[in-house]
Amino acid sequence: METITHNKYTVKKIRELTKSTYVVRMERNGMAFIPGQNLNLGLAGDTEKRDYSIYSRKKDDYLEILVKEVEDGLVSKQLKRINPGDALEVDGPFGFFTLKEEHLYSKKFLFISSGTGIAPFHSITGSFPEIDFTLLHGVRYLDETYEKHDYPDDRYISCISQEAGGDFHGRVTDYIKQHPVDKDTLCYLCGNVNMIYDVFDILKEQGVPSENLHAEVYF
C-alpha cells in the first residue's frame, strides 16, 4: 500500500562558524546526490522554503548545509533557532552545478566563490580530492574563510577585501585580473549575482569560452 510520506530530516548538530554563519547537519536518510547539487528546505510544517547547496561530502553519512543568517530572512533566521532533534522538511537533491564525470581527472578547475557560495565547492573538493583545482574565496573579513583547513593550503586562496592577512588582499575580481585564467580551464562561479556578472565579464575578456563557464547564483 502506498502511503503519503513527508521529507522529514532530523537535525543532528549545529556548528557555528561566525556570529551569523553556521553549518546545519542533518540525517542523510540515504539521499544520493552529486556534489554541487542543492536542497530545498525549511522548518517542518512551514510553507517557506529556500535552496541551499549541499556542504557535506558524498561519503559522509549525514547532510550539511552552510547558512548565513539574512536580515529579514524568512528561513535563515528560523534555521538559526533550530536545535538537534528538530525536523526539517527537505526536498531534493536538485541542480546541475556539478562536474562532468569525464572531466574529473582530465581538466583543470577554477572554483570562484563569494561568501557562503563556497558551499558546493566544499562538497565537490571533499568528494573528489584528487581533482586539479584552485579555489578562490572572496569574503570581507578573515573570520569568514569558513573552515579553510578543509582545503589543501596550496589550492585555497582567500581574497579578503576589508582587512589584511588573507592570501590576497582585494576582491576575487582583482585576483583574476592579476592572474589571467587559461582558456581551457573549467570555471565554476558561485555566490552573489554581482560577483558572478563581474567575473563573467573578466573571464570572457580573457578568452574563456562561455561553454567553460558555469554559474550558480545565490539569491
Binding site: I4, T5, T47, K49, V193, E211, A215, V217, F219
Partner: protein, 469 residues
C-alpha cells in the same frame, strides 16, 4: 446532479481537465456550462501570475456566498503554491493535488454527497478503510505532501478529449529546473515521467481514431526519462518509437511536443524529428532572453552558445521547420544593453512566433523576493519593440510561402465571415474561404495566396484547380 469546472492556465491544465471530467462523470454527475446550476463546482488553478490566483479567490468567495441559497460542493486542484493551498483548505470543501484525482469520488462521498455510482467506487471494506485513510492523510497534509507521489494512478485515468482530431498526451509532470521567474517546481513538484508503454498506447489509440494533431505535454517535455535513467527510454527514443508507429500506420498525422528546455535539447532529438514524417516540423524552444547574464539570473541553465548550437542544428537538419520561442522582457535587472542582445537573437534566429511576456512577479518564484526594478513603461516599450522585430521576420517567412501548396489541418469555422481556419504543420494560421464543415478535422492541400505577419490565406487546391480549368 450537475458539475462545472473552470480551467485556468496552460495546456497542461486543459489536458488535466480532460482526465478530471470522466472521474466526476463516473459518479453520475453531468456537465453543465452554467456554473449557477451546478451542485459540484471546481477550479483547476494556475499560479503563473497573481491575476490567475486572484480569480480563484474571487470565484470561491462567490461560491461560498451561493451556499446560502443552494447545496454546493467546491473543489480546487491544479497548480497551487503551498501558501495558497493553506488558505484554500479553509475556503474550499476539497483541495487536492492533481496526482490524487482518482480519490476525488471518495473525497466527495466523505463530504456527504452519495450517488449510487459513487457507492460502487468503495464496495469493499478493505478498500474503504484504505481510501478513508488516504483521504484523511490528504486533508492533514495538503501543504506538505509530495505533489507527484501518485501521478502513475492519475495517468491511468482515461481522458475525455475535447476535440475529435486534436489531443494532448501528458508524458511528464513537474519541474526540477527552478528558473527564478517561475513557481512551477513548487506547484507541480518534481519531474516524473509517465511510463512509455502507456504513452505509446494512448498515442496508438489516438492514431487509430484518426486524430491528426497530437501534442506530447510536459513542463520539461524533453527531460522525459531523466528521472528514471536506465529504467525508461529517453525522450529521443520515445519520439523514435512514436515515429516508427506513425510510419507503420500509414496515416497522416502530426506529433508535437511542448515545452522543451534548451538544457536537455540534444542533437539526437532533432535528428529523430527530421527522420520521421509524423513528427511535426515545428520546434518550440523557449529562450526567455538573448543575454547570458540575464539567463544566469533566471537560473536557466543554458547559455546563448548552447541555444545557438540547437538552432543551427535545427536549421541544418530540418530546414523547413518553424521555430517558436518564449521571451520575457523587463526581467529584474534587465538593462538596455541586455535587452538589445535579445533583439539580436530575434533577428538572428528569425522566429516564426515568439510568446513575449512583460515580466511580472510570480508569487512563490525566487524572483518574487527581488525588486521588480524595470519600470512598467520600459517593459511595455521593450514588448512593442520586440513584437515589431518578430513581425518583420515572421512576415518574411510567411511571404515566402505565397504561391506554394501546403498541407493544412482544418480546425473549424472562423467567428466572422465565411471562412474556415486551419494550421500548417508548422503551426501557422491559415484562413480558407469555405464553409464546408466536413473539412474540419481533415488535413487538406491549400495553395497560399497571401500572407500577413502571423497568418496566411489560401484556397483549397481542388477549388483553385476548378477555377483555373
Amino acid at each position: 446532479m450537475k458539475y462545472h469546472i473552470i480551467t485556468l492556465g496552460c495546456q497542461m491544465n486543459l489536458s488535466d481537465t480532460g482526465r478530471t471530467k470522466p472521474v466526476i462523470e463516473s459518479m453520475g454527475y453531468e456537465w453543465t456550462d452554467n456554473e449557477d446550476e451546478a451542485q459540484l463546482v471546481g477550479i483547476l488553478a494556475c499560479s503563473v501570475r497573481q491575476k490567475a490566483i486572484d480569480k480563484v479567490y474571487a470565484r470561491i468567495h462567490k461560491w461560498n456566498r451561493a451556499k446560502n441559497q443552494r447545496n454546493l460542493l467546491t473543489f480546487v486542484t491544479g497548480c497551487i503554491l503551498p501558501a495558497d493551498r493553506e488558505k484554500f483548505l479553509k475556503l474550499f470543501d476539497i483541495v487536492f493535488p492533481m496526482s490524487e484525482l482518482q480519490e476525488l469520488p471518495e473525497m466527495i462521498r466523505q463530504n456527504g454527497i452519495v450517488t449510487p455510482v459513487s457507492l460502487k467506487v468503495v464496495n469493499q471494506q478493505e478498500d474503504l478503510v484504505f481510501r478513508n485513510e488516504r483521504v484523511e492523510q490528504l486533508k492533514r497534509s495538503a501543504a506538505g505532501l509530495k505533489l507527484n507521489e501518485h501521478m502513475s494512478d492519475f495517468w491511468h485515468i482515461n481522458p475525455a478529449y475535447e476535440s475529435k482530431f486534436e489531443a494532448f498526451v501528458p508524458i511528464q509532470n513537474g519541474c526540477d529546473k527552478f528558473c527564478t521567474f517561475c513557481a512551477v517546481p513548487y506547484t507541480r513538484g518534481r519531474e516524473v515521467s509517465r511510463p512509455s508503454t502507456e504513452i505509446l498506447e494512448e498515442v496508438k489509440n489516438l492514431v487509430e481514431q484518426d486524430y491528426k494533431s497530437i501534442t506530447l505535454l510536459g513542463q520539461n517535455v524533453n527531460s522525459y526519462g531523466l528521472d528514471k535513467k536506465g529504467e525508461e527510454v529517453s525522450f529521443p527514443e520515445l519520439l523514435r518509437l512514436i515515429g516508427k508507429m506513425g510510419k507503420a500506420s500509414g496515416k497522416e498525422f502530426w506529433v508535437y511536443f511542448t515545452s522543451p528546455h534548451p538544457r536537455d535539447m540534444t542533437d539526437e532529438v532533432i535528428e529523430v524529428v527530421a527522420q520521421y514524417d509524423c513528427l511535426a516540423k515545428q520546434i518550440h524552444l523557449p529562450g526567455q532572453s538573448g543575454d547570458d547574464k540575464v539567463l544566469i539570473r533566471m537560473n536557466r541553465k543554458h547559455n546563448m552558445e548552447k541555444y545557438r548550437h540547437i538552432v543551427h542544428t535545427i536549421r541544418k537538419l530540418i530546414p523547413r521547420a518553424t521555430l517558436f520561442t518564449d521571451i520575457i522582457v523587463g526581467f529584474t535587472g534587465e538593462t538596455d544593453e541586455q535587452f538589445e542582445n535579445t533583439r539580436r537573437i530575434m533577428e538572428e534566429f528569425k522566429y516564426n512566433m515568439a510568446y513575449i511576456a512583460q515580466y511580472s512577479v510570480r508569487p512563490g518564484a525566487t524572483s518574487s523576493r527581488w525588486d521588480d526594478d524595470v519600470p512598467k513603461e520600459v517593459k511595455k516599450q521593450r514588448y512593442h519593440t520586440l513584437t515589431e522585430d518578430l513581425m518583420k521576420t515572421s512576415h518574411e517567412h510567411n511571404k515566402a510561402m505565397v504561391g506554394k501548396t501546403y498541407r493544412v489541418l482544418v480546425r473549424g469555422k472562423e467567428r466572422k465571415g465565411e471562412f474556415l481556419s486551419g494550421l500548417t504543420e508548422g503551426r501557422i494560421n491559415v484562413r480558407i474561404p469555405s464553409t464546408d464543415m466536413s473539412l474540419v478535422g481533415q488535413i487538406v492541400d491549400i495553395k497560399i495566396n497571401s500572407a500577413t505577419e502571423f497568418s496566411l490565406a489560401g484556397d483549397l487546391i481542388n477549388q483553385t484547380e476548378l477555377q483555373s480549368a
